[in-house]
């Protein structure tokens, strides 16, 4: 299937509309050093928010251009690929760009109070600078069409993430070891990834993803390419916290400042999953990845294991944030499972779950942060009975919790429905049943939170006051979004379907 580019790009882009792909990255990237340069605490937050909001606007504009299935190819500096770096926007990554920038724009107003209470004042400028770098990195990973460029952006986002997690040390010193763990694991992941890219470059002589894809399709695979594939999947699997490479995640999400946990949980692993999708379907072609390498028989059991093992561990946690982190590992299992189905419905399920789980988890972590603001921590014995003292925060947590279970009328239901449908369509009976059975574990761990919040007396020594409005409003925007996207699926499911179609059609080739 030949896909036409959405915009005919001449050698050098001239209008603002044509410059949108690079502005998507440049705006937050430049804003980060600006914050440090001004060094003024009063300017820090407004600049961060403005950069994030502009990014959101750009990403929506990009999504609108590619929503019908075309793509935009942007050549940096007018240097044509494969020599120059190409940014390529299609439905799959435009969707992710919107997700990441929208989550960031909603979380930032929340972050203001939350960060003020959890991070020392003198660190604020650097904190927000790191935040913007992390944001830039994630956006870059998603937008670029160049393999080495992906690595560069992965490193940008990872390095800043280590710093962001360590910023939680003001509240709990264990944030430092969590950041250190992630530093080691993340570096191993990035190294594996870059080794894989190196092998690919060795075998094909190019770094442009579309170009690599064309050459693999022409010349077929060889051992180097197989090895490259393995390195890339393992490397990105580490970043995506695919079970059993998830060990860095629970501690990192638990001890990071609440706003950071919310942002990372909703976006960071999602970007990594996207890279895996892109490599498996656009670069290597599914036939190669699955038939010759039998990837489904490696990834599918791991996905199922994640769904059960991580959910099971989540049941026994006594800290809300830690429970949510383990639940994330389980949910990533659903996304990986969708990939291994190798059908359009399966990939649609993965992509729509990226979005739906993103907003759900963001809402839950924001709720946890709001509770922690008043209770001092998110341990169950501290937050118990908060349903009475913080009714609005708790109600939002209930809504998002129901979405995490996948109750109809919430976003989580939509992705679960599509995933089960995909498994049934393929005739994978057992897998469909395993998905629903594992979501019963979600009922257990979510209900434990509800009981803690509502059926206990508040703990002594907690502040009995509702969270400030600046936290409540973003929290409720997210919570209501989980309901809205449970009914109106035009945007989410529609875009996911277009994206899956595009991915399964294989590569669109180089622009000659």
């Amino acid at each position: 299937m030949a896909v036409e580019p959405a915009i005919e790009v001449t050698q050098i882009a001239l209008t603002l509309k044509e410059q949108l792909p690079i502005l998507q990255i440049v705006v937050p990237f430049v804003a980060a050093p600006l914050i440090v340069f001004f060094g003024s605490r009063s300017l820090t937050w407004p600049i961060t928010f403005a950069a994030s909001a502009i990014s959101l606007w750009i990403s929506v504009a990009l999504l609108l251009q590619v929503a019908d299935g075309g793509f935009i190819s942007y050549q940096i500096g007018g240097w044509a690929p494969p020599l120059g770096i190409e940014y390529r926007v299609d439905a799959a990554n435009a969707y992710l760009l919107v997700l990441i920038s929208a989550i960031s724009t909603v979380i930032l107003p929340y972050a203001r109070k939350s960060v003020a209470s959890e991070v020392a004042r003198r660190h604020h400028t650097l904190f927000y600078a790191c935040y913007l770098l992390c944001f830039t990195g994630l956006m870059g990973v998603v937008i670029t069409g160049d393999a080495f460029n992906i690595f560069v952006f992965v490193e940008i986002s990872s390095l800043s993430t280590y710093a962001l997690i360590a910023a939680g040390a003001g509240r709990d010193k264990r944030a430092l070891t969590a950041a250190y763990d992630y530093l080691i694991m993340g570096t191993i992941g990035a190294t594996f990834f870059v080794i894989g890219i190196g092998f690919l470059y060795m075998a094909t002589g190019t770094l442009n993803l579309a170009d690599i894809a064309e050459r693999i399709a022409e010349h077929g695979g060889n051992r180097t390419i197989h090895a490259a594939f393995a390195f890339i999947i393992v490397g990105m699997g580490l970043k995506a916290a695919i079970y059993p490479m998830h060990l860095w995640l629970p501690a990192a999400y638990t001890y990071a400042p609440s706003a950071v946990s919310a942002f990372l949980a909703a976006t960071a692993t999602k970007a990594a999953i996207y890279v895996i999708l892109r490599f498996v379907f656009s670069v290597f072609q599914p036939d190669f990845a699955f038939q010759s390498l039998a990837l489904e028989f490696i990834l599918m059991p791991l996905a199922v294991l994640a769904m059960f093992a991580a959910s099971f561990i989540a049941v026994f946690q006594s800290d809300l944030k830690r429970m949510l982190a383990y639940s994330s590992v389980a949910q990533i299992g659903y996304m990986v499972l969708g990939i291994t189905l190798l059908t359009q419905t399966g990939v649609t399920a993965t992509i729509v779950h990226l979005f739906n789980h993103g907003i759900t988890k963001a809402a839950l972590f924001m709720g946890a942060g709001a509770l922690a603001l008043r209770a001092g921590s998110s341990f169950y014995d501290r937050i118990q009975g908060m349903g009475r003292t913080m009714p609005l925060t708790s109600a939002a947590i209930v809504i998002a919790g129901l979405s995490l279970i996948g109750v109809p009328g919430t976003a989580g239901f939509i992705s679960k429905f599509v995933l089960v449908e995909a498994a049934l369509d393929k005739g994978w009976w057992l897998v469909a049943l395993l998905v629903v059975f594992s979501s019963l574990l979600a009922v257990v761990y979510v209900w434990r939170v509800f009981e803690t919040l509502y059926l206990n007396a508040p703990a002594a020594g907690t502040i009995r006051q509702e969270a400030p409005l600046s936290m409540l409003i973003p929290l409720w925007i997210m919570a209501l979004a989980t309901i809205y996207f449970g009914f109106d699926t035009q945007l989410t499911l529609g875009a996911a379907r277009t994206a899956a179609e595009g991915l399964l059609a294989g590569t669109t080739g180089m622009l000659k």
Partner: protein
């Protein structure tokens, strides 16, 4: 008013009552008055639909397309309308009763209680008017979630345990089985609409038909088919108005209603009859009827006994569908109304006894009939209706079910229904007999009824069971389109 507007309003009005309860949580007369108003308006809306639409199937109102070919959509058809009339009508009486019970009993957290109650009614309206399986499933889950706080209401360890059982059985079955059945149906047919004659014919064959039916039948946990009936006795820790409306009318009837919808509109009665896919369900329902009655006999706690009686009676309706014949379907449909009226009477009487004397066990109620003659009188009438004796409404639905069994030559089922009636006598009438004919010095004294708001509603519903005896024919006529040839 357009029918579609009335449908939407009949859900929005109780939904709005949820919020008036929360907003005016400390002004109890205003709060309870507004909810009563909402109940009356809701009933009025349902009657408007009834008057306008009769027993036709109305046009479908579509709100969102959630998946290709599957919408959030509503319409009116006879069975749903009957369910809506029963639930919204009894809501008015139960609300009055609940005000008396909650105040008389000095229960706490009234606002939260009535808010969840109203939300549950809104969900029931959604179930009654849903035009496809997805919409029904949506409101089915809303109903589970909104009734959970009602079961856990007292906050005692016992209530929390009961609520946990309630939650885990209902949510567990619906997620693990019903959802799979729904998606499987969608995967087979590409639609989930309720259509006359079913949507599955020609799409699924062989052993897969009873298997799919099994996913539905066990997935609809609210129908309390054994072995997934444990939630119903567990829910009896809730305050009695909850047991009365929700666990004798709304929640359990939502279960069997869904069962009937699946039988009539998803599988199609003819398809079930042809493939004999529902035969196993018939036997299981028969087992549930007898086994639950036997368990009921062993219970000394009055509410527990009534709960097991409900488990048994619900299986009548499941049996009606499983017979896969017109008379069975009509009998099942009729039994939704008849059992609702009878059982709500029994539960409200049990609550009145509790409010007046704080007694929960049958063995403590010796001689109480002379102290509370109206309550025990109403209990007796309700019990006779459940047993199925004329001139109470319950006799007609049982009659139709027996005719249905005879129609298909299932003689054993006739025996089951007969034995069940005998068992009903054995576990319901001793309560009345003990109250009126035995005496206990502890329960002596002059007539001392529960507060007016507690004894009046059951007296009215008891009268209702008698009225239903005479209007059964009308209801049966009303349900005829369900079984009319295509």
């Amino acid at each position: 008013m357009e029918i579609t507007t009335a449908i939407i309003l009949s859900m929005l009005v109780p939904f709005g009552a949820t919020f008036t309860n929360l907003i005016f949580h400390d002004r109890e007369n205003l709060r309870d008055g507004l909810t009563l108003g909402a109940a009356i308006v809701t009933f009025g809306l349902v009657l408007t639909i009834l008057a306008k639409n009769g027993s036709a199937t109305s046009e479908t109102l579509t709100l969102f397309e959630v998946f290709p070919g599957v919408d959030i959509a509503f319409n009116v058809e006879p069975l749903g309308l009957l369910f809506a009339v029963v639930a919204s009508g009894l809501w008015i009486l139960t609300h009055i009763y609940a005000i008396g019970y909650m105040r008389g009993n000095k229960e706490k957290h009234h606002a939260r209680f009535f808010a969840c109650f109203s939300f549950a009614i809104a969900s029931v309206m959604g179930i009654a008017f849903s035009a496809n399986m997805l919409t029904l499933f949506l409101f089915y889950e809303f109903l589970t979630i909104s009734t959970y706080p009602l079961v856990a209401h007292k906050g005692t360890p016992e209530a929390i345990r009961g609520a946990r059982t309630y939650m885990s059985v209902l949510m567990g079955t619906s997620i693990a089985l019903l959802l799979v059945a729904v998606i499987w149906t969608y995967s087979l047919t590409g639609t989930l609409d309720f259509a006359k004659g079913g949507i599955l014919e020609g799409r699924v064959a062989g052993v897969m038909v009873p298997l799919l039916l099994g996913f539905y039948a066990f997935g609809i946990g609210k129908a309390a088919l054994m072995p997934f009936h444990r939630w119903l006795p567990a829910a009896m820790v809730a305050p009695t108005p909850v047991s009365a409306l929700l666990h004798a009318v709304a929640v359990v009837k939502a279960g069997v209603f869904t069962m009937m919808k699946v039988g009539i509109y998803v599988f199609g009665i003819d398809f079930l009859a042809e493939t004999r896919a529902s035969e196993w369900l018939m036997w299981l329902a028969a087992f549930s009827i007898i086994a639950a009655s036997l368990v009921a006999m062993t219970k000394d706690n009055l509410k527990a006994r009534l709960a097991y009686s409900t488990v048994s009676q619900l299986s009548y309706i499941t049996l009606g569908v499983a017979l896969a014949t017109s008379l069975g379907v009509l009998g099942g449909g009729l039994h939704i109304a008849m059992h609702a009226m009878g059982k709500i009477t029994l539960f409200m009487c049990a609550g009145s006894i509790y409010v007046a004397t704080h007694k929960t066990n049958i063995s403590q109620m010796t001689g109480l009939g002379r102290v509370m003659p109206i309550t025990f009188g109403a209990f007796m009438i309700g019990a006779l209706s459940i047993i199925g004796l004329p001139p109470m409404g319950g006799s007609w639905s049982k009659w139709l079910l027996i005719m249905g069994a005879a129609d298909t030559g299932q003689w054993i089922m006739i025996v089951v229904l007969m034995v069940s009636s005998l068992l009903n006598i054995a576990y319901l009438l001793p309560v009345v007999a003990r109250g009126f004919f035995l005496s206990d010095p502890e329960n002596g004294g002059p007539v001392r009824e529960a507060p007016l708001l507690c004894w009046l509603p059951p007296a009215l519903t008891a009268a209702g069971t008698v009225a239903l005896f005479f209007y059964a024919g009308t209801i049966q006529q009303f349900l005829m389109p369900l079984v009319a040839a295509n």
